[in-house]
Symmetry: C2
Subunit: 617 residues, 2 copies
């Protein structure tokens, strides 16, 4: 039980959080004050009773972590940080200004925010990643607190996280659901029926407590209890009222995302929240001291060891490279969604068991957990079929907003996977990954370039995507060949080239075959390996085009729009180059890989046909 | 209890399904025979005891529906259809051939398959849509059976569907989990602990039964019981063995997705599956007769009714148009994910309550349910924030593979939403939707074009996406203006235009302002409204470019790669046009809409700057 004085202090602090949230949103003229008011008592008890952190050091490795999954309640978080002494309360009134880091939903422009939130249902996955880091990698006893809304519990990703959290016995993960019963447009599915949440999390193996979310003593008791639970995470189900503390807002529909008008409306609300004196003194528990460790210095990466012409799938080479990279850099971790024997992430597992997290068939949570790990300084490599990364697009998007560094690897791209059919073929993955700002998209065609590009990835920031293929293809490059990001390779070239073929992955091999056929009939074409799709080798492609009558043909195992072809179009956008594309233009069928490459117009025979029609041969 | 003779018959049929599955995958040289063997008894009891359907009429409206969520077990489905008399057993040996519709994973190239499966965890959502159609729209008493694997229960979309199914009290929805304990790369999270699945579905409000999935009597009893449950769906948790029936396959890891070798290996397996005589006679219950109804003839769409210059957000106009469209066509249904007061789907709800399905904050299930509704002949309009459609990209991808007709509407695109910040801004939605083969992407700039385009959508097939904006913008067009898909509008034009500006949505209004500023300094530019992003008006843009010195500037409120700019690049790819792009090149901040348009380089001032630099003014 909390002492009476502490309860009074926490109540006063909660009232201050309410006042700050109302003022800031009214000043901004937008925002979600009522969502802050329902959470204010919970946030007060979290920040000023339960959590242990150093307000002067947001990156203290043993700080407890806080994830505001219901990101629209950002003002109450900013208010808590102000009351903790992180910044002056005056700054709260800059909410949502272009020049302020206090954004409408929290982002890591503020160092206290590990991951951006605001796309609902993602916070618990981020928390899982942070808790995995604490329990298994850092062996730190920090705890991770995730505050969620009730509406977002409908998101499946929450249940993916719930399952993995018990699988990994994450007692350092404590969730709180702010059950205010009101969504954006109507009452939530369960209104104030807290038993629904309680029973579901219990069935998922969580220690579960239901409380009145406005009773500070009860909140404190639940948080204290959570800290003593062993071997499983805790979910606190808190019954609250949206708009709590202001009579004309409490539990009223129609107030979501609406600030009070400055003046009479705001004043009336504030008059219902009187402060006795100057408010409570805040006492925040400190994390244990830390002996500073220097960051590990990655060892050199062992060069590839293949023979020219040897047949190796790029997905296999990915696994080999990742295992080697894990040896050279201890910060690297890997996650895979029960496809590790196809993506070959299993090679990393075999070499670095302690840094591999099996994520089962739950791609959204896999990416969310990777965000949490990355926010703790790890370098996650996340793999599954390229097609199934689309399952996590919203999480990939939010990871980019978080600014974290994650490396995605998508295997089984394109029709060249063959008989399994279209559901398993990644055909829109390049479009998806190119759209992410500042992303890097790499698409190797042989084992040597795969290994080199995986090694290069390790030092890149932000979102990186490596696309690998299922079929075994011949090694094209010597082991000492270098593959700078943003480069390309000219593989076939003559002074009489009439056109440049740009390809990558399996279509590069098709282009090389086409080159031979065309050469035999006296039609020379240049062939370029565009292993770096983004950034694309603008200079190299423009130069090749200028030497081949300003004609380029792009061939890719991807849908027509958004892939390598569009990257090339951008590269030459202002250079008067004619760009032609061969790509997959319809939903493909099952069939043998070589049959499909031909049927969908991207095999050697079809390239020859197209080149002939373009050069008038 | 099933009679002894029926049990014997079903056992024999199950054995035949096993034999067919083994033979077909061995012949194909790929596939997932062991996943078929675990499910064979369940499928036998489903098809030849529980389900009521007309094997001669796959589109009988009262047929029970079957969704094979574990799509990799396709051969057992094909075998059941053969034994039901749908096609000769010989056809089973065409599995996975390019010329066969028996694909590696089921697709609606077979009329018995309502929706493509193979991306795991989507089948239950499809079943929810089909069950909503039966219970609420058709008032038919058909039932929907969904067979799932245990590994896929880790997918969050399963739990989204589980929650919505109880919310809508879908007693006509019956799920079966084939708990064989083995995933692709290792044991599942819960191996054979069936209580986990039982308790979780029970906590989600399902009637739940656990049985031995190889005990035909138990399966039949569970299915019979499920048919008498009222007001809630049933989940049958069936303990099975992967590879059941073949001693050297049963419950063995390492056999996922591997066929037996033809010859000795296959023969050895088949020798363990002897058939007594020619096998059982199949008796399939018929659905009730149906009085054929003619398809409703849509009434004419009432024309828009706006005043030129009046300020109306395109999202508001979307809601108005959708409500009107619902009046003209009774097949139209709408789904929204607790954003209906922002997307204005609430206008459809107000007008057509019975055809609106609130889907809460669970976008994957919302799209999956729309697939189920579309597979039953309805025309679903699915809306949420454009940003949150990314949550359902895998489902949108699979919907396209299913070939169903769904209309997506994404509101709150781009930085022009303002203060809520990047998590709420749809900035990669055009890239995502353009990538889908044969998709249509529409992006209106005013209320009149929005209404006209929504009306046009109704008759389009496949994937259609309409992008709407948050800010109110002036009406640009007269109410009788037509907007053919694939067209564009020239809004400003003079014989001395030095460049063509292509824009849509808020940037069109910025481009019009820029036009005025430029005109005042004697620099004329053409301005085009590219309301049809895909198909883009290739002819119109090439023509405009040819009249404006072959120079085009595309301005869009979208990330740089994959959007309208890339669509324009494709349009002019072989015409020697110089294409310049203004788009959002980094993760934006919170701020006022007009501030953000300027800060991220797509507002009027920035367009003027860019045009000046391009025309050397």
């Amino acid at each position: 039980m909390a002492a009476t004085q502490e309860v009074t202090n926490l109540q006063t602090l909660a009232r201050k959080l309410r006042i700050h949230s109302l003022r800031a949103t009214s000043e901004a003229g937008s925002g979600h004050p009522t969502s802050c008011l329902s959470a204010a008592d919970l946030v007060s008890a979290l920040f000023f009773h339960a959590m242990r952190f150093d307000p002067k050091n947001p990156v203290h490795p043993h700080n407890d972590r806080f994830v505001l999954s219901k990101g629209h309640a950002a003002p109450v978080l900013y208010a808590a940080l102000a009351e903790a002494g992180v910044w002056p309360v005056e700054r709260l009134l800059t909410l949502r200004n272009l020049t302020s880091d206090l954004e409408g939903h929290p982002t890591p422009r503020i160092p206290w925010v590990g991951a951006a939130t605001g796309s609902l249902g993602q916070g618990l996955s981020v928390g899982v990643g942070m808790a995995l880091n604490g329990k298994y990698l850092e062996k730190s006893d920090y705890r991770v607190y995730v505050l969620m809304g009730d509406g977002e519990i409908a998101e499946g990703s929450v249940w993916e996280a719930a399952a993995l959290a018990t699988h990994y016995r994450l007692e350092n993960l404590i969730g709180i659901i702010d059950v205010n019963g009101l969504g954006q447009s109507q009452r939530t599915m369960y209104d104030h029926d807290t038993a629904v949440y309680h029973n579901r999390f219990a069935a998922f193996g969580w220690h579960t407590v239901t409380i009145d979310g406005h009773d500070i003593s009860a909140i404190v008791a639940a948080l204290d209890q959570a800290q003593s639970v062993k071997d499983r995470p805790t979910m606190i189900v808190a019954r609250t009222l949206k708009g709590k503390g202001v009579s004309f807002l409490e539990d009223r529909d129609g107030w979501h995302g609406k600030p009070l008008k400055k003046g009479e409306e705001l004043d009336k609300a504030l008059s219902e929240l009187p402060l006795n004196g100057s408010g409570a003194a805040t006492k925040i528990a400190s994390p244990p001291g830390v002996s500073l460790r220097s960051a590990p210095v990655p060892a050199p990466f062992t060069p590839p060891d293949y023979k020219l012409g040897e047949k190796v799938a790029t997905r296999t080479a990915y696994g080999t490279a990742l295992a080697k990279l894990g040896t050279s850099n201890p910060l690297i971790v890997a996650l895979d969604g029960d496809t590790k024997n196809s993506t070959f992430a299993e090679k990393f597992l075999a070499a670095h068991k302690d840094r591999y997290f099996e994520s089962f068939i739950a791609e959204q949570n896999m990416v969310g957990a990777a965000v949490g790990l990355a926010a703790c300084g790890k370098i996650p490599f996340v793999s599954t079929f390229a097609a199934f990364l689309s399952r996590a697009f919203d999480h990939i998007r939010m990871a980019a907003i978080s600014g974290v560094t994650i490396k995605y690897a998508g295997s089984h791209c394109g029709v060249s996977i063959g008989e399994d059919g279209p559901s398993q073929m990644g055909l829109e993955d390049i479009a998806m990954m190119r759209a992410i700002p500042h992303s890097t998209v790499l698409y190797p065609s042989d084992a040597v370039s795969t290994e080199r590009l995986v090694a290069a990835e390790a030092s890149l920031k932000g979102t990186t995507y490596l696309r690998t293929s299922r079929p075994a293809t011949p090694v094209l490059y010597a082991n000492n060949e270098e593959f700078p990001v943003g480069g390309s390779k000219v593989l076939r070239s003559s002074p009489t080239d009439q056109l440049t073929v740009v390809a990558a992955g399996v279509t590069l091999h098709e282009a090389l075959s086409a080159h031979e056929i065309l050469k035999a009939i006296g039609a020379n074409v240049r062939v370029i390996d565009a292993y770096s799709v983004k950034p694309i080798d603008t200079k190299g492609i423009i130069s090749a085009a200028s030497q081949t009558r300003q004609r380029v043909l792009v061939v890719e195992d991807h849908y027509y729009d958004g892939g390598l072809g569009d990257a090339v179009l951008n590269a030459v956008a202002t250079h008067g180059v004619q760009v032609h594309k061969l790509a997959v233009t319809e939903v493909p069928r099952s069939g043998k890989p070589e049959e499909l490459l031909d049927a969908y117009g991207i095999g050697a025979r079809r390239i020859v046909e197209k080149v002939k029609s373009l050069i008038g041969n």
